[in-house]
């Protein structure tokens, strides 16, 4: 049951082959059985889930079922959920009960989904391994000594272990795509502005986007259908006609032109990873697609530019966490300064503090032009590289990550080691383009992800390409034996 697609599950529920309560119980039991090994959940909302499942059964009986009625899902603990703890993986919000729902949560609720719990994540979405969470590291289900990736590590691990059919994640520099690659699942970061950020705790406002993580592109398409759409409460939300991500899944790709950026297939790329990616592209060529070599000449600057812009925005976004109106409060503050400094010093972990300080630095007087403004100019160059490339090709494909998952603790000596993971993902966030990662093979028994990048608002196209790949391959169907 836990290996079925969302479409199958929803049909089973609607045809009453299984009840919502039964299905919810099934996944809750899997969580109970397996999550101790993974630590993928921060909060389990079992009681509410069962109540909601019972109501879903009623809706199905009444004929008032929605697109996803009865589907159990997980929400990354970055989305505010009314009446439920929302920690963002941080001690700072360990005591925070959100008094409202994020728009994404509202929309998925309206579609009929059942929330099983909130998933673990790197603290305030800053990390690529889910090792910075206040609630402990998440383990990769493929090998529990290895990281699942981050920051949406909990969501990725839970899907890989089939603890839920779908989960929400967020992606600022690769935080959906990279853990999807490390865990052998599919995830998509939509075009900036497609999915509402209202209620999605901000890390870097001009880069953050929420998106679905699931077993397949088809499942992601169904989830994205419910998640996407204009929100007047988010000034950066784009007001455009709603798209249909499902109807184009089966379009033939015999005229597709795939771009391969030469900078991403340089001699530096691990040859085993290269092999997996090239094989995947070959499968698509078999279906009629053609390949073209393109260039993204400024791509080598995406990591430096990202680590100027994201910390800058985060240093400001996280200034509100001061213990005054909510959040962590230290004991016996001596005066106001002590109150602020210790609330924040004790409430935030090391990586968050590092990024806040770097962000403060690049915005400070004397450095603003040389760093922040310069980085935004480079961002423009990077975006232009993609826009130019898309004049020649329909989609761009490349590895999602330079290597497979690494061992827990392996990259903690120097923060920069961790940052270099993001080489293929950050450019897409800077440009605001949609990007998807799907599993395409294994190296040393660990999953390898392939990235498909589309032009602005071309989610339907990249989901279509991924779905066509998944129709002729089985990588996405594989899950670790331990959690079968």
């Amino acid at each position: 049951m836990h290996n079925k697609s969302i479409t199958e599950l929803v049909n089973n529920l609607r045809n009453k082959q299984i009840s919502c309560v039964e299905l919810t119980k099934l996944f809750l039991e899997r969580i109970k059985k397996y999550d101790q090994k993974l630590n993928s959940l921060i909060t389990n909302t079992e009681a509410q889930a069962l109540t909601d499942a019972a109501l879903a059964d009623q809706a199905i009986a009444n004929g008032t079922a929605g697109l996803l009625t009865g589907l159990p899902i997980l929400h990354k603990d970055i989305f505010c959920t009314n009446g439920v703890k929302t920690s963002c993986g941080s001690r700072m919000l360990d005591n925070f009960i959100a008094p409202y729902d994020a728009t994404v949560v509202t929309k998925l609720k309206a579609a009929g989904t059942i929330m099983l719990g909130k998933t673990n994540m790197d603290e305030f979405a800053m990390g690529s391994s889910n090792e910075t969470s206040y609630y402990g590291t998440v383990a990769n289900p493929w090998n529990t000594e290895y990281v699942p990736g981050g920051s949406s590590g909990g969501s990725a691990a839970a899907i890989a272990a089939r603890l839920a059919p779908a989960a929400t994640g967020t992606d600022t520099g690769g935080s959906i795509r990279q853990p999807a690659a490390f865990c052998g699942i599919t995830g998509i970061k939509p075009t900036y502005g497609l999915v509402s950020r209202f209620g999605m705790i901000a890390y870097a406002s001009s880069l953050d986007q929420g998106g679905p993580m699931a077993v397949s592109a088809e499942d992601c398409a169904v989830m994205l259908q419910a998640m996407a759409g204009f929100d007047p409460k988010d000034s950066t939300s784009v007001d455009r006609e709603a798209a249909d991500y499902i109807k184009n899944l089966n379009d033939p790709i015999n005229k597709l032109v795939i771009g391969m950026p030469k900078e991403f297939f340089s001699a530096d790329l691990n040859p085993e990873i290269a092999k997996v990616v090239e094989s995947a592209i070959k499968e698509l060529e078999k279906l009629g697609a053609t390949v073209k070599s393109i260039s993204l000449p400024n791509s080598h600057l995406s990591i430096p530019a990202y680590y100027v812009i994201a910390p800058a925005e985060c240093s400001s976004n996280l200034a509100r966490y001061d213990g005054v109106r909510y959040g962590y409060r230290c004991e016996n503050p001596v005066d106001l300064n002590d109150f602020y400094c210790r609330n924040r010093g004790e409430g935030f972990g090391a990586e968050v503090k590092r990024r806040i300080m770097i962000g403060t630095y690049v915005l400070s007087s004397g450095y603003y032009d040389a760093y922040y403004v310069k980085a935004q100019k480079i961002r423009h160059l990077i975006a232009n590289d993609f826009i130019t490339a898309f004049k020649e090709v329909d989609v761009i494909m490349c590895p999602t990550t330079p290597e497979t998952a690494f061992k827990i603790g392996a990259k903690n000596k120097n923060p920069v080691d961790m940052y270099l993971n993001d080489i293929y993902t950050t450019g897409i966030n800077l440009a605001g383009l949609p990007g998807l990662s799907m599993p395409a093979g294994f190296v040393n028994k660990l999953p390898v992800g392939v990235q498909i990048i589309g032009n602005y608002f071309q989610e339907a196209k990249i989901l279509n390409v991924a779905h066509q790949f998944q129709k002729v391959t089985n990588w996405h169907k594989q899950s670790p034996q331990e959690f079968a």
Binding site: G199, S206, S235, A319, S365, Y368
Partner: protein, 478 residues
């Protein structure tokens, strides 16, 4: 050493929108603490700002009224600093690209001349909350009702040269924002807040001296005092060889001095950058044009119209257009009393009404007499029912107990006597009783005419029409 004072003013005008600039919470003054602070105002995790269109309209109205440039594209920036009444740890403001650029305000100086003060810029931003320091031992209480109320910060060029000019500018600006209906101008409630940047330099020197910023002046009187104190303080420092520190100073109205608040140097690095949660504000020419059409008549135009339309002098027009409320009251009264009585109405308002309002420290908005009642009084003077003097008496009654003047005239029997034979009778009686004076008058003592007038007025309890008395008396005495 001759010193020149240089003053620049920053005025924070609270725009009287119904809801806040970036959230839908209410803005009414005086609510219980934190009852008008929603999730967005509190800076909860995940919340986002959306701009209030009325705040934009009001800013554009102001920009048009002062002949400035309205920026077709302006940007919201974050001003980052930590303070308990600033929930997000940053204030959303406009730094590099404000919505209003340039502009000017003409001020009336004491010697009767006008001076043009240039406006550098005006921008939209959100207000912070309030800190209550006194109520709790060792702690400060924070009320965030005010956090998020829209402000228009108006910055002048440093072109004022003394406290009087500064006050004239502030008064003009105050009247203008009230005229435009964008601010209620209530300085006690903090709707109109002035910060003064004050420096001195040797007369003739081009370079500006170091300036100090004076905050916390909430009345025109205090602005004047604060500036004067500050100028003296700075000159004393400079003349004794010291240097003025660039800092923020608070005005203390009890002691009438300014004291250092915090070194501006420390609070300086605001790390301004464009707010990524807000898009650039694009304003079309059509939008600006529509607002131009909706602009109320501005004080200068109203003044000119009053002079021609109501046949008023420059002086009279000044007083009657000082505030929109006064002007509206006047025009409403004339509408009822009749165009031909515009002068009489003016006299009554500038004379009796103004004096009574001042005595009781009332604004015209709280005038006990309404326009219908005043108009009726005007008509009774015009139709000779009342003499000027009698009108004063009736007015006094009306002030104490507002009502239709006809009722007072009736009750008090104050109708002017205009009947010629009645007046003749009174005059005959007076003359009969004052034969000695009559003889003296006829003998040449002309000044006794006033005595007879007085006697007739006394005998008629002030009701005899003065002109007729004069005429008839002239005839009878000669």
């Amino acid at each position: 050493m001759q010193w020149e004072t240089v003053i620049g003013l920053e005025v924070h005008v609270q725009l009287n929108t119904k809801s806040k600039i970036f959230s839908g919470a209410a803005t009414a003054y005086g609510a219980e603490p934190n009852t008008q602070a929603c999730a967005i105002d509190l800076g909860l995790p995940g919340v986002l700002p959306v701009l209030n269109e009325e705040a934009v309209r009001m800013a554009v109205k102001f920009g048009l009224a002062v002949n400035s440039n309205i920026a077709k594209r302006s940007v919201f920036d974050r001003k980052n600093y930590f303070y308990p009444d600033l929930p997000k740890g940053y204030q959303i403001s406009q730094f590099t690209h404000p919505i209003v650029i340039g502009g000017e305000l003409n001020i009336d100086l004491e010697d009767g001349t006008t001076k043009t003060i240039n406006i550098t810029r005006a921008h939209l931003e959100e207000d912070a909350g309030k800190s209550l320091h006194e109520a709790f031992k060792g702690q400060t209480g924070i009320d965030l009702n005010r956090a998020g109320i829209p402000l228009l910060e108006i910055v002048s060029e440093p072109e004022m040269r003394n406290a009087a000019e500064a006050v004239a500018y502030l008064k003009k600006l105050h009247a203008l924002v009230k005229y435009l209906g964008i601010c209620d101008g209530n300085m006690q409630e903090g709707s109109f807040r002035c910060d003064a940047n004050v420096s001195v330099r040797p007369l003739g020197q081009e370079k500006f001296g170091t300036r100090a910023e004076i905050k916390n002046v909430n009345s025109f009187k205090f602005v004047e005092k604060a500036i004067n104190f500050e100028v003296t303080r700075q000159i004393e420092i400079l003349e004794s060889g010291g240097t003025v520190i660039q800092e923020t100073r608070l005005y203390d109205s009890q002691k009438n001095d300014t004291r250092s608040m915090r070194s501006k140097e420390e609070a300086n690095d605001y790390r301004y950058f464009p707010d990524p949660d807000l898009e650039p504000l694009v304003i079309s020419a059509a939008f600006i044009e529509k607002i131009k059409q909706e602009l109320p008549e501005l004080p200068t135009a109203k003044h000119a119209r009053f002079m021609t339309q109501y046949n008023l002098s420059d002086y009279e027009a000044n007083i009657l257009t000082e505030t929109k409320a006064i002007a509206d009251f006047y025009e409403s009264t004339v509408k009822i009393a009749g165009m031909n009585n515009s002068k009489t109405t003016a006299n009554l308002m500038i004379g009796e009404l103004n004096a009574a309002l001042n005595k009781d420290a009332l604004e015209i908005e709280n005038c006990p007499i309404n326009v219908e009642q005043l108009a009726k009084l005007v008509q009774r003077v015009a139709d000779n029912t009342l003499s000027g003097k009698l009108a004063k008496t009736v007015f006094e009654f009306m002030w104490q107990q507002p009502q239709d003047p006809d009722l007072i005239i009736e009750q008090q029997g104050l109708k002017q006597v205009t009947d010629t034979s009645a007046i003749e009778k009174i005059i005959d009686t007076v003359i009969a009783n004052n034969q000695k004076q009559l003889a003296e008058y006829r003998a040449g003592k002309q000044q006794l005419f006033g005595f007879f007038v007085g006697q007739v007025m006394k005998a008629s309890q002030g009701k005899a029409n003065p002109d007729q008395v004069n005429k008839i008396l002239q005839g009878k005495l000669s």
